[in-house]
């Protein structure tokens, strides 16, 4: 279990993590989602004591990780790919890490086998591809069979098989009762892996909910087009439905499904030229949530956002 309380990190005048509180529960996969620069990595670095919080605190299984006596069996973390001396082989790196905690050599071999790196005996880490670096990072994280697994963007640079493998790994670790905390900036990835989502934007928690709730959280929306909208608007407004007039012939209706809107239109005696439910995917929900919180906004507005929720 990871518990953060009013966690804050400032670098000079810039607040990277802003008074953040959350709990990551064991036995499930918790996704940590946010745009680039939202504060995900900084938060993770504070959890494992590599960065010191400016204010607030964070505990792993009830303790500060920096005083952990069994760090490798307590927390396994992949924070940066290739956080290894470039002139070492994967095996030497893992052996050195294992030695600190008296972890056996056979365990190193297992970790290499498990991540598909056992064939690269003599290859130096400096010559690793991004994907191989990620695999080595995951191997280091699994070395101590830790209670808490923290993976920062683990699927970066992995091939589809590798992505599926990480997903499978996360689910299996969670099923064994471990705490699994995975960051990503891709909602589509999280949608397939996580049970619970914590969304962060510009250092603040925007949402903290089970993934199912996350989708249902936004109301269902429907686009209605007609040359004579007023009678329909009157009926719907009387029922307390939230309406947004997009232009003279277009209306966005939040709440009722398309069938009941069509029935109201029939009762009002108006002709509809369009009745279209908006597909609200997790991706849309995420985009909507973080729209104003993106640190580096691209100049070109994405069609998906414009067509989907505006």
């Amino acid at each position: 279990m990871i518990q953060a309380q009013q966690l804050t990190k400032r670098y000079g005048a810039k607040t990277v993590v802003d008074n953040v509180s959350f709990t990551v529960q064991p036995g499930m996969v918790t996704g940590f989602l946010g745009p680039n620069g939202a504060g995900k990595s900084t938060t993770m670095r504070m959890i494992v004591g590599l960065a010191k919080p400016t204010a607030g605190q964070v505990a792993v299984n009830g303790n500060n990780f920096r005083s952990s006596k069994h760090p490798l069996t307590e927390v396994g973390a992949l924070l940066e790919a290739k956080s290894v001396h470039k002139s070492l082989t994967a095996r030497t790196h893992l052996r050195a890490m294992a030695a600190t905690g008296g972890i056996s050599r056979s365990r190193v071999d297992e970790a290499l086998e498990l991540t598909g790196l056992s064939q690269l005996n003599r290859k130096k880490v400096g010559g690793f591809s991004l994907g191989m670096g990620q695999r080595l990072g995951i191997a280091s994280a699994l070395l101590g069979d830790p209670q808490v697994l923290i993976l920062d963007e683990p699927v970066n640079g992995l091939d589809p098989e590798g992505v599926a493998w990480v997903r499978n790994l996360a689910r299996q670790q969670a099923a064994e009762g471990k705490t699994v905390f995975i960051s990503s900036h891709l909602m589509s990835e999280m949608a397939q892996t996580a049970d619970h989502l914590i969304v962060i934007g510009r250092g603040r928690i925007l949402a903290d909910a089970p993934i199912s709730e996350f989708i249902d959280d936004g109301l269902r929306q429907t686009i209605v087009r007609s040359s004579n909208l007023d009678p329909l608007m009157t009926v719907l407004a009387a029922e307390g439905v939230q309406l947004t007039r997009l232009d003279s012939t277009t209306l966005r209706v939040a709440g009722p499904d398309s069938e009941s809107i069509g029935r109201r239109a029939l009762e009002s005696g108006i002709v509809l030229s369009e009745l279209r439910p908006l597909q609200r995917t997790l991706e849309d929900a995420y985009m909507e949530l973080t729209r104003d919180e993106v640190e580096y906004k691209s100049q070109v507005q994405h069609d998906a956002v414009a067509g989907g929720t505006h």
Partner: protein, 276 residues
């Protein structure tokens, strides 16, 4: 692919474990072996050149009155330590790299995940570099003695392994090298940058003595400061005839202790306080 590991683990982190971990990495790097080899060879080569130069000069011209006899057993013993400054520099660089490498390669993340107690890591590195640089210098001095013995005999110069002058070269030389290596380690922890650490080390051991050497002509008190510079302390301890000092032995040893401990304490404090 499987996603499960079977072997159970205990995982308690100990100082011995961290020391073992540091040694595994240290000895797997080629740079380590190359630097130690270069230090040994250079130390030996300069001593050979010294004995050969002094010997061949003395055999051509008899000693002049008023000038100390360079072929005396005492001076000959000190000739074997003439490469000391280079040993200090190279093993000092090794000390810098041992710490700065963590930050330039990013391996600090793995290191401090495996041992979140940062001072334990610094302590293990300090023990490792102390043992290694002392051993390297002791072996280098003994090898130098063995290589120079026939050469000195050739010029009728006497060498005595157990004489106090060679013993000074042997043991105080090792102390001087350990001091340099630990200053290097501390610089690595303070600056977290290989180029910066090595430059500072060179400045401390080579540039500062030159500058202060020039300043001694302007003011007398500078001379007292010069005697406390780390390279001068090492020289005056290991080679008291060629680098005489006004300081008492205990003062020189206190100086060495200060140069070793103060940068390390500063490095330890910064390592604990700063983010990785």
């Amino acid at each position: 692919m499987s996603t499960h590991l079977a072997t159970p683990t205990t995982g308690k982190v100990t100082f011995g474990g961290v020391l073992r971990s540091e040694s595994i990495r240290f000895f797997s790097l080629n740079s380590t072996r190359v630097l130690i080899l270069v230090a040994v060879v250079l130390n030996m080569g300069i001593a050979v050149l010294g004995v050969w130069g002094v010997g061949s000069l003395a055999s051509e011209a008899p000693p002049m009155p008023g000038v100390p006899d360079m072929t005396s057993p005492e001076f000959t013993a000190e000739l074997l330590g003439s490469g000391l400054a280079f040993s200090q520099l190279i093993l000092g660089v090794l000390g810098v790299l041992l710490m700065s490498g963590e930050f330039t390669t990013g391996s600090a993340v793995s290191t401090f995940l495996a041992s979140p107690q940062r001072l334990r890591v610094l302590g293990a590195k300090a023990v490792l570099i102390t043992i290694l640089s002392a051993l390297a210098q002791l072996i280098s001095s003994v090898l130098t003695y063995l290589v120079c013995l026939p050469l000195a005999k050739n010029y009728n110069m006497k060498l005595d392994f157990f004489g106090s002058h060679f013993q000074n070269v042997l043991w105080y030389g090792a102390l001087a090298v350990v001091m340099a290596a630990l200053i290097g380690l501390a610089l690595g922890a303070i600056l977290r940058n290989s180029a910066g650490g090595i430059t500072s080390l060179v400045a401390l051991f080579f540039v500062l003595p030159l500058v202060t050497g020039l300043l001694t002509m302007l003011a007398d008190w500078v001379q007292n400061v010069v005697q406390f510079l780390p390279n001068q302390l090492g020289m005056s301890l290991a080679l008291p005839l060629s680098s005489p000092s006004d300081l008492e032995l205990w003062q020189q040893l206190v100086g060495v202790a200060g140069w070793t401990l103060i940068p390390l304490i500063l490095g330890a404090w910064l390592l604990k306080a700063r983010d990785i």
